[in-house]
């Protein structure tokens, strides 16, 4: 496996604002990489730097082994799908698809034939003569993808391509984009602020914040082993609960602040009396059937049918139950906590302990 896209120490300044802070990233050929993070974290800037639409302040970019720093976008041989789709409004679907071919001197007959093939792959065959304004959001999205596919580029770059679609269509397009990626054996970089999209689509997830990479790895590794409180809170929905906790004097267990005297054993002993942050995913907290060592007062209850979302009255804890529960606001319930599924973080550095 060779790196199809390699970024070394990328810095990007907008005036005095440092949008990217020494980012290094190697993207293997054939992988689907998601760049995920809150808005303003630099993920789009990084993607646009790969495309060449932003000039980086320092660092190096190579694509398929070729140094690309300072090379204009049209010589990089990468295709991009924009959030706004950026279809050419004055061209029909077929003209949109074949635009790049025509620029590269491909003959009319051949371009037409290729457009037909691509349209068939993405289900646009009936719409080749239409203009973008005559298409629905999902169809425009497909044209934008078709325009990228037809060129057979070295890499596909996606800039939040699904954020303008409604929820149901988003789920469907998620699957289609991933299936297309597999069929083409392509290398894809996908920017999103939606961690579910990142988790479900990508082979490799890169979590960014404030211009740096906080953590990268396989989706479930990020879920199971977040390196810090930020990644822990960002990956997973609903978000992880964080409760301040105190290690007991013998160093072998801890108590959760505000949840009474109940003790949770520690897998690895910690400094006696040390303050820590205990992270617990809502789906890993269970309502106790029998007697329990932790109790909480129920605040709000939301039932979706398949799951029940409970929040404590003080708002500190959220839990998700797959069973239905006959509860009302104000009820006290017992809580079962699996010690193996607790993540501990340092309150000062936020790093995983």
């Amino acid at each position: 496996m060779t790196a199809q896209i390699e970024l070394r120490n990328i810095d990007k300044y907008y005036g005095s604002f440092r949008a990217l802070k020494g980012v290094s990233l190697a993207i293997e050929k054939g992988t689907f990489v998601a760049l995920v993070g809150p808005s303003g974290c630099g993920k789009s800037t990084l993607l646009r730097s790969i495309a060449g639409l932003e000039t980086i302040s320092s660092g190096e970019i190579t694509i398929a082994g070729q140094p690309m720093t300072g090379v204009p976008p049209r010589r990089r041989d990468v295709a991009m799908v924009f959030q706004s789709y950026a279809l050419y409004p004055h061209m029909t679907v077929e003209e949109n698809l074949t635009y790049s071919l025509r620029l590269h001197g491909v003959g009319k007959v051949e371009a037409r034939q290729k457009a037909g093939e691509v349209a068939a792959t993405i289900g646009l065959s009936q719409l080749l003569g239409r203009y973008p304004r005559q298409l629905s959001g999902g169809q425009r999205q497909r044209v934008a993808m078709g325009r990228a596919i037809i060129r057979n580029p070295k890499a596909f770059l996606f800039d939040e391509p699904l954020s303008n679609l409604d929820a149901a269509l988003r789920v469907q397009m998620r699957k289609e984009i991933r299936a297309l990626h597999d069929r083409l054996g392509a290398t894809s970089v996908y920017v999103t602020h939606d961690q579910i999209e990142a988790m479900t689509m990508a082979d490799w997830v890169v979590v960014m914040r404030d211009g740096i990479i906080e953590q990268q790895g396989r989706p479930l590794d990020l879920y199971d082993q977040p390196v810090n409180r930020f990644v822990a809170g960002f990956i997973g929905s609903p978000a992880m609960n964080f409760l301040p906790a105190t290690v007991t004097p013998d160093g072998k267990a801890m108590t959760l602040d505000g949840l009474g005297e109940g003790q949770i054993p520690l897998a690895v002993p910690a400094g006696p009396g040390r303050a820590v942050i205990a992270g617990m995913r809502p789906e890993h907290l269970r309502m106790a059937q029998g007697p329990a060592s932790f109790h909480l007062e129920v605040g709000t209850i939301e039932s979706t049918g398949s799951a029940t979302y409970l929040a404590s009255a003080d708002g500190a804890l959220q839990l998700v139950q797959s069973e239905r529960a006959e509860l009302k606001s104000g009820d006290r319930i017992g809580l079962e906590i699996d010690p193996a599924r607790i993540h501990l973080f340092d309150p000062e550095t936020s790093a995983r302990i």
Partner: protein, 300 residues
């Protein structure tokens, strides 16, 4: 009585009043003179019939007489040269400036704003300024061209029959440049940036992006600018009295100025009206193109 006022204030009465005022203004000050002009072009107008509305009807006699005037074809030719020369100069230079100021550089917006000076200035003042610039003996244009080695002897711009129409065209290009630039700038700014980015990634160089994205996306703006340019150029009047008065020997005379000369210097109101009606048909044609081009907006 109060019911009447309530209806006026709250019902459709007030709406009709507002629309009616505007409509009345338009009919009285644009519609009526226009009709009167058309009517006059089919009548015999002389000293004895000046004060009446219904004068002897002469059919197309005035039109035939105008076409038979010895200067008719010269004026027609001049009008065409003036219109196409001014419009192409205004459009090409205006588009070039609009593209230039669409680039991001410090002060771009401010300098572009300064260009509006030419648009704000009255035509007569612009004419006076250009009259000095183009002056044959002391004009600054001759000095520049001579120093650049383009001409050897002074050109008497305003009184040389070969150059007189071009003297007015140059001044008119300057006068209309800002208006063209401004409208085209607005059109340029309305094209989404990501289209250019998509085209760049698709492999288009700067020239290809201009040809395949900018121009087609500007279609309606260009249509509007050209039609308004045609109307504005045909209506241009101020520059002629300020620069050449149509001379020498009608070599810089155009239809609009000729119509004015016929009516208000020769007092041949019928012929003056006839020339203006002929121009009106041309402007009407341009207006139709303009309205059609704005109707076919191509925006994503």
């Amino acid at each position: 009585m109060s019911r009447f006022f309530n209806a006026l204030r709250d019902g459709v009465g007030f709406d009709i009043l507002l629309v009616g005022a505007a409509l009345l203004f338009l009919l009285a000050l644009a519609g009526a003179p226009l009709l009167y002009n058309v009517l006059m072009s089919f009548q015999q107008v002389d000293m004895f019939t000046l004060g009446v509305l219904f004068r002897p009807f002469v059919g197309f006699d005035n039109y035939v007489a105008v076409v038979r005037q010895p200067e008719f074809w010269l004026v027609t030719r001049n009008t065409l040269i003036f219109v196409f020369g001014s419009m192409s100069g205004q459009f090409v230079l205006g588009f070039a400036l609009a593209l230039f100021f669409a680039q991001k550089f410090p002060g771009a917006a401010t300098i572009r704003g300064l260009f509006l000076v030419s648009w704000v200035m009255p035509g007569l003042v612009v004419g006076a300024i250009w009259s000095w610039i183009l002056a044959g003996d002391f004009g600054v244009l001759n000095v520049i061209l001579k120093n650049l080695g383009i001409i050897q002897a002074n050109v008497v711009w305003k009184s040389d029959p070969n150059f007189s129409i071009w003297a007015v065209i140059i001044a008119n290009i300057w006068l209309g440049l800002a208006f063209n630039m401004l409208l085209l700038s607005v059109g340029l700014a309305a094209i989404p940036r990501d289209l250019y980015e998509a085209a760049e990634l698709d492999g288009a160089n700067a020239f290809q992006r201009f040809w395949t994205i900018t121009l087609p996306m500007m279609r309606s703006t260009i249509g509007a600018v050209l039609s308004l340019g045609l109307i504005g150029t045909l209506q241009q009047f101020d520059l002629f009295p300020a620069l050449t008065e149509g001379g020498p020997a009608n070599t810089s005379n155009v239809a609009g100025y000729w119509s004015w000369q016929l009516s208000f210097q020769l007092y041949d109101f019928a012929k003056g009206a006839t020339v203006s009606v002929m121009m009106f048909v041309l402007v009407l044609f341009a207006s139709i193109i303009y309205v059609r081009s704005t109707r076919h907006e191509v925006r994503g």
